[in-house]
C-alpha cells in the first residue's frame, strides 16, 4: 500500500495506537451520552414530582388564605397567600387577594406598596384602583382617594363591569358625603340615577344617598316614583313621607306615612323603625293642625293664627329671660309684638287677612330668631319652626 504510506507517515504501531485512541474516544463519548441520558431521565422524574408537589402546596395555601379571610383572620391570610404565591408565582388573583389581606390586616403601607406594584403592570385594573382608593381614604388623602376612585370607574373590570362601576360610584358618593362634599356627591348621584336599572332596591339606595347629600327634592322624586308602583316597598313610602316632611309638604308626608303605617310589612319592621315612623306621622299631623291653611274656614284659621302667636310669644319671653344680655334682635321682635293688638278674638281677626299674615310672619321670625339665639326649640315651637322653614311648601299642598 504505497499510496497509504505516502499519505500517512505513522508507523504500524502508531496506527494501531491511533485506532485504539479513536475507539477509546468513541466509547468514552458514548458512555458520556448514556450517562447524560440517564441523568436527564432521573432529573425529569425528580423535577416532575417536585412540580406536582409545588402545585398541590399552592392550592392548599390558597384555600387556607381564602378561609382565613372569610373567618376574619387577615394576618393568617397574608401568610397563606404569600405561601401560595411562593409555590405558584405570578397568579394575579392571588396577588390581589394578598394585597387585600394586607389591607384588612391594617398593614396599610405594605398594602399600598403592593397594590402600586400590581397597578404598574396593569394600570387600568378597576379592582386595584378601587383598593388603592380605599387605602388612600383610610390614610386621609382625599385627592388621591378621589383620583383612584375615578380611575376605578374608568378602569377594566372582570365580570359585570356595569354593575361594579355603579357600586364604585355609590362608594365614592358615600365617601364624598362623609367628607361633607355634598355638591360632588350629588353630581355622582345624578350619574348613577341616570344609568340605574329599574330596580326598586337600587333606586331606594340612590334616594337614601340623595337624602344624605342634602338633595331631598331629587330623593322625593325617586321615592314617589317607587311608591306609585304596585306593590310598592314600604321603604319607599317611609322615605317619601320622611322627605316630604323635610320639604315641608306635610299633607303628602301624612299621606305617605299613613300608607306606610298601613302597609302589610309595617309590623315586620324593627321596633325602632316603627316607632320613628309613628312619631314622624304624629308630628306631621300636629303640624297640619297648627298650619293656618287657606282652605280652612276663616274663624278656625284665625284661631290657629292666634294660637301660633301665643306659642311664639311664650317662646320669645322664655328666650329673653334665659339670655343674659339683651339681644338687639330679640328686642326688635318684642317691639314688633307690642305693635300687634294684645287682645284679639278669632272673629275680629278673621275679618283682617292682612293682620293674619303679619302675625304669622312675626311668628315665623320669632321662631327662627329664638332658635338662632337660644338653640333648637321643642314641642309646638319646633313644629312652628319647621313650618317657618318651608312656608311655601305648606302652601303648595
Amino acid at each position: 500500500m504505497p499510496v497509504f504510506e505516502l499519505r500517512s507517515p505513522l508507523t504500524a504501531e502508531e496506527r494501531q495506537y491511533k485506532r485504539k485512541l479513536i475507539l477509546r474516544d468513541v466509547v468514552a463519548l458514548l458512555s458520556l451520552f448514556a450517562i447524560t441520558a440517564a441523568l436527564a431521565v432521573a432529573t425529569y422524574f425528580l423535577f416532575n414530582s417536585f412540580a406536582r408537589r409545588r402545585q398541590a402546596l399552592a392550592e392548599r395555601w390558597l384555600e387556607r388564605g381564602e378561609s382565613a379571610m372569610s373567618n376574619g383572620h387577615p394576618e393568617q391570610a397574608v401568610d397563606a397567600f404569600r405561601s401560595a404565591l411562593e409555590y405558584d408565582p405570578g397568579q394575579r388573583e392571588t396577588e390581589i387577594k394578598l394585597a387585600m389581606a394586607l389591607s384588612a390586616a391594617g398593614r396599610t403601607e405594605e398594602a399600598v406598596s403592593y397594590f402600586n406594584t400590581l397597578l404598574e403592570s396593569e394600570p387600568g385594573n378597576g379592582l386595584i384602583n378601587l383598593q388603592l382608593a380605599r387605602l388612600a381614604a383610610k390614610q386621609g388623602s382625599e385627592s388621591r382617594a378621589v383620583e383612584y376612585y375615578q380611575r376605578a370607574l374608568d378602569g377594566r373590570w372582570q365580570g359585570d363591569g356595569y354593575e361594579r362601576r355603579r357600586m364604585v360610584r355609590l362608594e365614592l358618593t358615600r365617601y364624598l358625603i362623609n367628607r361633607k362634599d355634598y355638591s360632588k356627591a350629588r353630581t355622582q348621584l345624578l350619574v348613577v340615577a341616570g344609568n340605574a336599572p329599574d330596580d326598586p332596591k337600587i333606586k331606594l339606595e340612590i334616594a337614601g344617598l340623595m337624602e344624605e347629600a342634602q338633595d331631598p327634592a331629587s330623593a322625593f322624586e325617586i321615592y314617589q316614583s317607587i311608591a306609585d308602583r304596585k306593590p310598592c316597598p314600604i321603604e319607599a313610602l317611609e322615605g317619601a313621607g320622611r322627605v316630604a316632611f323635610a320639604l315641608g309638604r306635610f299633607q303628602l308626608a301624612r299621606a305617605y306615612l299613613e300608607r306606610a303605617a298601613n302597609h302589610p310589612d309595617f309590623g315586620s319592621q324593627a321596633e325602632t323603625v316603627q316607632s320613628s315612623n309613628r312619631k314622624l306621622l304624629d308630628a306631621t299631623i300636629h303640624v297640619l293642625q297648627l298650619v293656618p291653611g287657606t282652605e280652612l274656614p276663616p274663624k278656625e284659621r284665625a284661631a290657629r293664627v292666634l294660637h301660633a302667636a301665643e306659642v311664639a310669644k311664650g317662646r320669645l319671653a322664655a328666650c329673653s329671660t334665659n339670655t343674659p344680655t339683651t339681644s338687639p334682635s330679640l328686642a326688635d321682635l318684642a317691639s314688633r309684638w307690642q305693635q300687634i293688638p294684645a287682645k284679639s278674638s278669632p272673629m275680629v281677626l278673621a275679618r283682617d287677612p292682612q293682620m293674619e299674615q303679619t302675625i304669622m310672619n312675626l311668628v315665623f321670625d320669632t321662631e327662627k330668631q329664638t332658635a338662632a339665639t337660644c338653640g333648637p326649640p321643642s314641642g309646638e315651637d319646633a313644629l312652628l319652626l319647621k313650618i317657618a322653614q318651608s312656608p311655601m311648601g305648606v302652601e303648595m299642598q
Binding site: 485512541l21 463519548l29 458520556l32 411562593e86 400590581l118
Partner: protein, 578 residues
C-alpha cells in the same frame, strides 16, 4: 493542611505524552473540545436542576411548606443540619467546604484543573442540606464548582492534555453558574472576571457553548424566567438618577460592612480550637434559625422567593431595610462557620432589599417622581454585586440580561460605578482575595489582573539614531559612511520592503570578502529582521535580541517608513521603570 482542605489530591492524573499524541492525532483535542463543551453544559445543567430541586425538597421537609415565626423547627432544622454538614465536611468531603469560587480558582491555578468526583458529590450533598435547612447561603457558587468538577472529570476520563484540563475548569464553572442563575451572559462574564481574570479567545467559544447548553437544559425545566420574576422596569424621570446615586452610595457602604464582617468573623472562627469546627455550623444554624423564629424567616435559605416578593412591592421600606441587615448578619454567621454554600444569592438578596427599600421610600414620599420598585430592586442587586463581589462588568450585564430592558442601563451604570468605586476605595482588597489569603493560598488577584496594563513597543521605542542604507548601495560607499560614525549596527532597507540590521563586524567581513562595488544586499545573511509595529506587546521583541542587536519598528500603513528603533537596553529600562 489548608491546601488539602480545598482540593483533594488523592487521584493521580495519567501522564499524557503530548508530543506522541500531537503526531498521531494532531486535531483530536481541538475537535473534542467543542463536543465536550456541550456535554459539560448539558450535564452541569441537569445536575444544577437536580441540585435546586434537592434544596427545595429539603426545605419543605425540614422547614415546612410555609415557615413562619414561632415554629420550633426553624431553630432545630438549621442547627441539626449544621452539625450533620460539619461532620460530612470534616470526615467525608473536605473539598466541599466554602463557597466554590475560590476552590475552583485554586483547582485552576494550583491543581491543573483537577477537582475530584468526591468533591462534586460532597458539594452537592452538603450544600443542598445546609441551604435547604435554612442556612443563609446560595446555590450558585456551589453550582459553579459542581460544573467545574464535572468538566474536570470528563477531561480526565478522556485523558486530555494538562493544558486542556486547566481550560476545562472555567468552562464547567460557567455552565454550572449559568444553569443556577438561568442567565448565560452573566455567568460567562463572571467566570471571565472572577475565575479566569482576562479575556482569552482560546476558551471563550467553549465557555459560551457550555453556558448556553446548560441554560437550555435549565430552561427546559424551569422556564425562561430567571430565578425570580422580573417586573416592569422603567426610568420615568431623569431626576430619579439622584435616587439611584443614593442607592449606589448605600450599596457601597453595605458592601463594605459585609466585607468587614466576613473578614473579621471568618478567620476568628477558624482560629478557634479544631473541635469547635464541628459545632460552628450548628451554632450558626441555631442563630440564623433564631432570626427566623423571632420574626424574620425570610432570611433563611437562598431567599429567591423573598427577592421576588420585594421586587413586586410586597414589603414596606422599613421591613426591607430590616431584612437586608438581618440577611447580612445571617450570611456572615453561616459562611464564616464554614458551612458549604455560596455568597451569590445572599448578595443578590441584600442588594434587592436595599434597592427596593430606596424605591419604596421614594415612592412613598415622591409618588410622581419614581419608577417601579422592581427597577430599584434589580439595580440594587447589581449594586451589591459590583460593590461586594467586585465584578462590575457582570453586575451591569446581569441586570440588563435578567430585565431584558436597556432603558435601565444608565441608572445601573451610575449606581454600580458609585458602589464599586466607594467599596474599592474603602476596602482595597476584594472579598474573594481576602478569603484566599485567609485560606493560606496565593491565587492571582482577578481585579489586578483585569486592570494590569500591558506595555507596548511604543512605550520603549527610541528615535532613529542609526544610519539607514539602501540594499543596492555598494559596500565601499556604505563602509565610507560608517567610518565616520561610532555605531555598532545600522539598518539596511531592501528592495522588497524587508529590513536587515547589519553589525559593524558583518560590514568589515563583507568589505574583506567582496569587491567594493558589490551591492550591500549581497553581503547579507538570508534572514530578515521581524516585522514589528508600535502597538505590539513589548515582550514580543525579547526573543529577537539574541539575533539582532537593534530592531526597526515600522509603520503599519507604510512598511518603508520607520517609526523608530528598539534595543534590549530600551526594553529593560522600560520594564524597570514601570
Amino acid at each position: 493542611m489548608k491546601v488539602d482542605s480545598l482540593v483533594e489530591t488523592g487521584e493521580q492524573i495519567e501522564p499524557i505524552h503530548n508530543s506522541e499524541l500531537q503526531k498521531i492525532a494532531p486535531t483530536r483535542e481541538e475537535r473534542l473540545f467543542l463536543v465536550l463543551s456541550i456535554f459539560i453544559g448539558v450535564l452541569s445543567g441537569l445536575l444544577v436542576v437536580s441540585f435546586r430541586v434537592a434544596i427545595e425538597w429539603i426545605r419543605i421537609l425540614t422547614l415546612g411548606s410555609a415557615p413562619h415565626p414561632g415554629q420550633y423547627r426553624l431553630l432545630l432544622a438549621p442547627a441539626l443540619a449544621g452539625l450533620g454538614v460539619a461532620l460530612l465536611v470534616r470526615w467525608l468531603f473536605p473539598g466541599a467546604v466554602g463557597s466554590g469560587v475560590n476552590q475552583t480558582k485554586a483547582a485552576l491555578y494550583i491543581y491543573n484543573g483537577y477537582i475530584s468526583f468526591r468533591t462534586v458529590i460532597g458539594k452537592f450533598v452538603t450544600s443542598a442540606i445546609a441551604i435547604g435547612a435554612g442556612h443563609s447561603l446560595g446555590p450558585e457558587d456551589p453550582s459553579l464548582q459542581i460544573g467545574a468538577g464535572v468538566a474536570s472529570m470528563i477531561a480526565r476520563r478522556l485523558r486530555l492534555s494538562r493544558q486542556s484540563l486547566r481550560l476545562f475548569a472555567p468552562i464547567g464553572a460557567a455552565a454550572g453558574l449559568a444553569a443556577a442563575f438561568n442567565a448565560p451572559i452573566s455567568a460567562i462574564l463572571f467566570v471571565i472576571e472572577e475565575v479566569i481574570g482576562r479575556w482569552s479567545a482560546a476558551v471563550l467559544g467553549s465557555v459560551v457553548l457550555s453556558a448556553i447548553s446548560s441554560v437550555v437544559v435549565a430552561r427546559w425545566f424551569w422556564g425562561s424566567e430567571p430565578i425570580f420574576r422580573i417586573p416592569q422596569v422603567t426610568l420615568r424621570d431623569p431626576r430619579e438618577l439622584t435616587a439611584y446615586a443614593v442607592l449606589g452610595v448605600a450599596g457601597g457602604l453595605v458592601a463594605l460592612i459585609f466585607s468587614k464582617a466576613l473578614g473579621y468573623l471568618r478567620p476568628h472562627l477558624r482560629s478557634l480550637a479544631r473541635w469547635t469546627h464541628f459545632f460552628q455550623p450548628g451554632l450558626a444554624g441555631l442563630m440564623v434559625g433564631a432570626i427566623g423564629f423571632f420574626g424574620f424567616p425570610q432570611v433563611m435559605g437562598p431567599g429567591y422567593g423573598v427577592i421576588d416578593q420585594a421586587m413586586h412591592g410586597q414589603f414596606a421600606w422599613k421591613l426591607l431595610i430590616a431584612l437586608a441587615l438581618l440577611k447580612l448578619l445571617a450570611t456572615t454567621l453561616s459562611f464564616s462557620s464554614g458551612t458549604p454554600g455560596g455568597m451569590f444569592a445572599p448578595t443578590l438578596f441584600i442588594g434587592a432589599m436595599l434597592g427596593a427599600a430606596v424605591g419604596s421610600f421614594e415612592k412613598h414620599y415622591f409618588p410622581h417622581l419614581t419608577g417601579t420598585v422592581g427597577a430599584y430592586a434589580l439595580t440594587g442587586m447589581g449594586v451589591l454585586f459590583a460593590g461586594f463581589l467586585r465584578a462590575p462588568l457582570t453586575s451591569v450585564f446581569m441586570v440588563l440580561e435578567v430585565s431584558g430592558n436597556y432603558s435601565i442601563v444608565l441608572p445601573v451604570i451610575l449606581a454600580n460605578t458609585i458602589a464599586y468605586l466607594l467599596s474599592r476605595s474603602l476596602q482595597p482588597v476584594p472579598i474573594f482575595e481576602i478569603f484566599t489569603h485567609q485560606d493560606g493560598l496565593d491565587l492571582p488577584s482577578m481585579e489586578e489582573q483585569r486592570e494590569e496594563s500591558v506595555l507596548h513597543i511604543e512605550d520603549a521605542l527610541g528615535p532613529l539614531n542609526v544610519p539607514v542604507v539602501s540594499g543596492s548601495e555598494p559596500i565601499e560607499a556604505v563602509s565610507a559612511t560608517m567610518s565616520f560614525d561610532e555605531i555598532s549596527a545600522f539598518l539596511v532597507q531592501l528592495w522588497d520592503g524587508s529590513w536587515y540590521t547589519m553589525t559593524r563586524d558583518e560590514l568589515s567581513s563583507a568589505t574583506a570578502m567582496l569587491t567594493g562595488n558589490t551591492p550591500i544586499e549581497r553581503a547579507l545573511k538570508p534572514d530578515r529582521t521581524p516585522l514589528l509595529f508600535p502597538d505590539l506587546p513589548l515582550d514580543t521583541t525579547l526573543r529577537y535580541f539574541s539575533r539582532w542587536p537593534l530592531l526597526p519598528v515600522l509603520n503599519r500603513a507604510n512598511k518603508n517608513k520607520l517609526e523608530g528603533v528598539i534595543t534590549l537596553e530600551d526594553v529593560l529600562r522600560r520594564y524597570q521603570n514601570s
